[in-house]
């Protein structure tokens, strides 16, 4: 197949070329031409033939699978360490984690993971989450030392801090959040409380302002809490069955 005369290129072929990252232009040139990646086409003939073959393959539907357009960065669970506590599942804002048919935590949506972000491995109380392409151990899969385990034991335990069942708390908060938020929205007292808390928090944990500022919107918080609750309940049910 060759694409030559002006006006002879069907939209489907143009779309296929665009999908492959080519730029396609129709110009009022003396010689009818289609520009591909800024070059007149077909020129050189070899390149044109290659592109035509690719387009042919696209049209026939047997184009080769394109090379990975994604840096493979995602958590890998060390099941010898994992206790199925689900903290990673409730932590991740991007639904990378899921629960298997037998109620076991698993990495389900690898491509949702934010490249170079190893945050979920930091909340795991068992040093069970690895990112093979991470720079440092033990997150990169290097052996877990006694020091690593001790450090993890000192981590803030989210559930304990919030006084027990994290999921019922989230559910509770989710139900009350909307009314509370709208009530306090314009309230001078609430602003004061926030300010005191932020300052205390900053001092106690050394939290930079930019992290405090990264809090998601109320809508996102509610949606996330609800999703986490549902997934956790589903996981409990499944685990109870087995």
């Amino acid at each position: 197949m060759t694409v030559t005369a002006q006006g002879s290129v069907p939209a489907g072929v143009i779309a296929a070329l665009l999908e492959k990252g080519y730029r396609v232009a129709r110009e009022a040139a003396a010689e009818p031409s289609v520009r591909v990646n800024g070059k007149a086409w077909p020129a050189p003939p070899g390149a044109g033939a290659a592109v035509a073959a690719e387009v042919d393959a696209y049209v026939r539907g047997d184009a080769p699978v394109p090379a990975a357009a994604w840096k493979p960065w995602f958590p890998v669970i060390d099941y010898k360490r994992c206790t199925n506590c689900m903290q990673c599942l409730s932590f991740c804002l991007f639904d990378v984690y899921g629960v298997s048919g037998t109620g076991q935590i698993e990495v389900r949506n690898q491509t949702n993971c934010k490249t170079d972000c190893p945050a979920c491995s930091r909340v795991c109380p068992e040093v069970a989450i690895m990112f093979p392409k991470y720079r440092h151990g033990p997150i990169n899969g290097d052996a877990v030392s006694a020091d690593d385990v001790r450090r993890e034991a000192m981590k803030v335990d989210i559930s304990a801090l919030l006084g027990g069942d994290i999921y019922s708390l989230l559910r509770d908060r989710s139900e009350k959040a909307k009314s509370r938020f709208s009530k306090e929205r314009d309230d001078e007292r609430a602003l004061k409380e926030r300010q005191n808390c932020l300052v205390t928090m900053g001092k106690a944990l050394g939290v930079p302002a930019e992290v405090l500022a990264s809090l998601p919107s109320v809508e996102e918080i509610q949606a996330k809490a609800e999703a986490a609750r549902q997934r956790a309940e589903e996981a409990r049910k499944l685990a109870g069955q087995s």
Binding site: G7, V9, P10, A11, I14, A15, L18, E19, G21, Y22, R23, V24, A25, R26, E27, A28, R35, G38
Partner: protein
């Protein structure tokens, strides 16, 4: 880069599904079926990030078929090639294919 003649620049928005497919495909079909010259690019965002010098070629009087005007202007600006005055930006996230093509085709040519 010198500005060239006014033309039509069409963004295929290759990397996201934010433009309704019937609009994206519909506009491209009507362009391909017309006698108009046009320049279809895979993704204006990607070109902006690369600071593609071809972004400097959009001349006054041109039409850019992409998304929200504020975003399109920002993309050209970020690339170091702010759009000149007199460029019309047509938004495929808001209009139908017919509406967009109506404002491009010469009167009476819209099928």
């Amino acid at each position: 880069m010198a500005r060239q003649n006014p033309g039509i620049l069409y963004c295929y928005c290759k990397f996201a599904r934010i433009i309704p497919n019937e609009v994206k495909t519909g506009v491209l079909e009507r362009l391909a079926g017309s006698d108009l010259d046009f320049d279809a690019v895979p993704d204006l965002c990607e070109m902006s990030a690369r600071k593609d010098p071809r972004l400097a070629e959009v001349a006054p009087g041109s039409k850019v078929i992409a998304c929200y005007p504020r975003a399109v202007q920002g993309l050209f600006h970020s690339a170091g090639h702010p759009l000149p005055a007199g460029v019309e930006i047509l938004n495929m996230r808001a209009g139908t294919a017919d509406e967009i093509v109506q404002s491009i085709l010469p009167a009476g040519a819209a099928a």
